[in-house]
Symmetry: C2
C-alpha cells in the first residue's frame, strides 16, 4: 500500500507521539457542505447517492478539499447491513429510515442471509471505496465504518427510528435467544463486510453503537458489548475506533476491548473518559451545537477541549455535525485544531 | 391537614425507617389503565382532559384504585407553565406538543407573563387538585409536579419535541443573557405555581428535568442546575424530588441540592446513585421495558433492584411507564414491591 502523505490520524491511532491532534467530523460528508447539497439536490434521494459509487466517492472527498480534515470517512449508511441480510428500507425525508419488513420471530431471523454471503452483496460500497482511494490519491487515510450489532438489531426489530426503541428492547427481555441469534448473524456479516472494506482500501474502522445509551448497564453487558468486542477482536488489519453513544456506564469495560480508540460523546468529560479509559486513544467530543456559537467562542472552547484531553486524542465532535451548522463554524473548529501544538 | 392513612411515601421522604419501599409509577395515570382509555376515547384530545378538572381528578385516582400504588400524582402536563406565561400549544396525536409561537428574541421573552401573575391562570389545575383530594379521601398522598426550567425553555424555544433540541441549545451558546432571562422568568413562575399547588393540597413535589441529558456538564451547571436548585430551596412546605433524566454527570451536584430525593434513570446503577448521592433518598429505576417480560422475570428483577438500592428508596421506573405495557406486568411490579420487606 502506498504511503499516505498526511498520516497524522493513523500515527495517533498507533500511539505515536504527534505534534497536534488529528481532526475529522462525524457526518462531515453531508449537508454542511454546499458541494454536497448541490449533488444531493440533483438526485431522487439519499439512497440514490448511496447506490452510486462515483457520487458517494465524490462526496466522501469533498470535506478533505473544503475543510482540510485529516481523514475521510466513506459516505455510506449503517443500514446497508440489514439490507444485505434481506431487510430493505426507505430513507424518508425528515423522518429517517423505514423498513418494509422487520424481524418479529425466529422464522424471520432464519430467513436472513448472513456472513460473507450477505456481505458480498455490498459491492457498490466497495466500488465507492476504490473510487474514493483514487480521488484521495493517498492525501489522507480513509475510514470505513459499520453499525454495532445492537444498534442494527434495534432498527431491524423496531423498523424505524424511535425515541425509546421499546419494541427492540422488548425482544431482549422476552426472547433473549432470538436476540442472540440475530446479534450473532449481524456480527458475522459485519466482520465479513469490514474485511472486504479493508481489502478494498480503508485504513481504519469506526464502529457506531448509536443506541447504546438506551440500554441498562446489564442489557449492554449481555446484548451489546460482547458482539462489539467480537468485531473489534476480529479486525486485526487496521485500527478500530469504538463509539458507543450514551454508554458512559460501560466506558471502563469498552476500554478493555481489543480496539485502538474510543469515541467520547459530549456528556462525558475528558477527565471522566481519561480516568475510565487509561491510555486508550480518545476521540471527541465538542458539543455539535457549540459550532453555532460566535467564532471566537468556538476557538476558545475548542482549545479548552484539546487542553483537557491532552495527548492520545483525535479531535472530533461528540456526535455527527448537525446539517444546519454554519460552514464558517466548522472551518473555525478544524483550523483551531490544526493550529494547536502540544509543545507550545 | 388530615392524617393520610397510607403515609409510607411521606415517611420515607422524611428519612424515617420504614418496613418496605413505597411504590408509584411515573405516568401511572395514563394509557396503561383501561379506565383511563375509556375516558380518553370519549374526549377530543389530551388537552380536553387537562382542562376538565373533574376528569383530571378521576384519572389521577384510577391507579390508586386499580394498582394500589402508595401515592397519586396529579394528572397534568409540564407545558402548563409555558402556556400560562403566554405560549399556547397543541398536543398532536402520536407527535407530541406543538407550540403556535416560540421564543426567538428578547422582545418575545419580554412579552411573557411570569411569577404569580402567570401562575394564577392555572386555576383549572388547582381545582383538579382539590377534587382529587376529595376523591382520595386521604388514602394516599398526592404528588404535584413541574418541569424544570431548562426542559421548559427547551420546548419554548424549539417549539416541539426534538431529538437534539439544537435550536434551544443554540440559544444557550449564542445568547446566554436571553437564556438566563427566560430561565429566571420560568423559575419565578414555577415557584409561584408550586406554592399554589401545595396550598390546594399536594403533599410532595417532583421536578422533571426531562431533557437534562442533552446538555454538556458545563451547560448543565450554567443553565439548568442553578434554577432547579432555586426552586428546590424555595419549596420548604413539602418534600421535593428532583428527577434529571440523563444527568448522571451531575448526579453528585444534584445531591447537594436542598431536596429530599433524587430520581434515578435506568442507565444509572443503584450503586453509582448511592455512592454519588450519599444518604439522599433515591427513587427509581426499573427499565420500563422490563415490564414487557414474563411475570416471574419481573418479580425477580424487581426484587434484585430493591435489594441493590436498600433502604432510603422509593420504588419507581427509570422513566414514565410506556403506554402499551401489559396491565398484568405493572401489577406484578407493584405487588412485588408491596410484598417486599426490608427485615426478611
Amino acid at each position: 500500500m502506498a504511503k499516505i502523505k498526511n498520516d497524522l490520524f493513523l500515527r495517533t491511532l498507533t500511539g505515536e507521539s504527534v505534534e497536534r491532534p488529528p481532526v475529522w467530523l462525524m457526518r462531515q460528508a453531508g449537508r454542511i457542505l454546499p458541494q454536497y447539497r448541490a449533488i444531493r439536490s440533483s438526485l431522487s434521494g439519499f439512497k440514490e447517492l448511496l447506490f452510486t459509487p462515483a457520487l458517494a466517492a465524490e462526496v466522501t472527498v469533498q470535506p478533505v478539499d473544503e475543510l482540510g480534515v485529516d481523514a475521510a470517512i466513506i459516505f455510506s449508511d449503517i443500514l446497508v447491513i440489514p439490507e444485505c441480510m434481506g431487510l430493505d428500507y426507505d430513507m424518508v425525508e425528515k423522518k429517517g429510515p423505514l423498513f418494509n419488513k422487520t424481524i418479529q420471530s425466529k422464522a424471520d431471523a432464519d430467513a436472513l442471509l448472513s456472513g460473507a454471503e450477505a456481505a458480498v452483496k455490498l459491492e457498490y460500497v466497495f466500488e465507492a471505496i476504490r473510487l474514493t482511494k483514487e480521488l484521495l490519491d493517498d492525501r489522507v487515510p480513509l475510514i470505513g465504518f459499520s453499525g454495532a450489532p445492537w444498534t442494527l438489531l434495534a432498527y431491524m426489530v423496531e423498523g424505524s427510528g424511535s425515541k425509546t426503541f421499546s419494541k427492540a428492547k422488548k425482544l431482549l427481555y422476552k426472547d433473549p435467544d432470538l436476540a442472540h441469534q440475530l446479534l450473532a448473524a449481524i456480527t458475522d456479516t459485519t466482520i465479513s463486510y469490514l474485511k472486504l472494506k479493508i481489502k478494498n482500501g480503508v485504513n481504519a474502522i469506526q464502529l457506531f453503537d448509536s443506541w447504546a445509551g438506551i440500554l441498562t448497564p446489564e442489557l449492554y453487558d449481555t446484548f451489546a458489548a460482547p458482539y462489539l468486542a467480537k468485531i473489534a477482536s476480529g479486525i486485526t488489519e487496521v485500527p478500530v475506533i469504538v463509539f458507543a453513544k450514551g454508554a458512559w456506564f460501560s466506558f471502563e469495560k469498552l476500554a478493555q476491548m481489543d480496539c485502538q480508540a474510543l469515541g467520547v460523546d459530549w456528556n462525558i468529560s475528558p477527565e471522566f473518559a481519561r480516568s475510565a479509559a487509561g491510555s486508550k486513544i480518545l476521540q471527541g467530543n465538542l458539543d455539535p451545537c457549540q459550532l453555532y456559537a460566535p467564532e471566537a467562542q468556538i476557538e476558545s472552547q475548542t482549545r479548552a477541549m484539546l487542553d483537557r484531553f491532552g495527548k492520545g486524542h483525535i479531535a472530533n465532535l461528540g456526535h455527527g455535525v448537525y446539517p444546519d451548522t454554519p460552514l464558517n463554524g466548522v472551518k473555525t473548529y478544524v483550523n483551531t485544531v490544526k493550529n494547536y501544538n502540544y509543545n507550545s
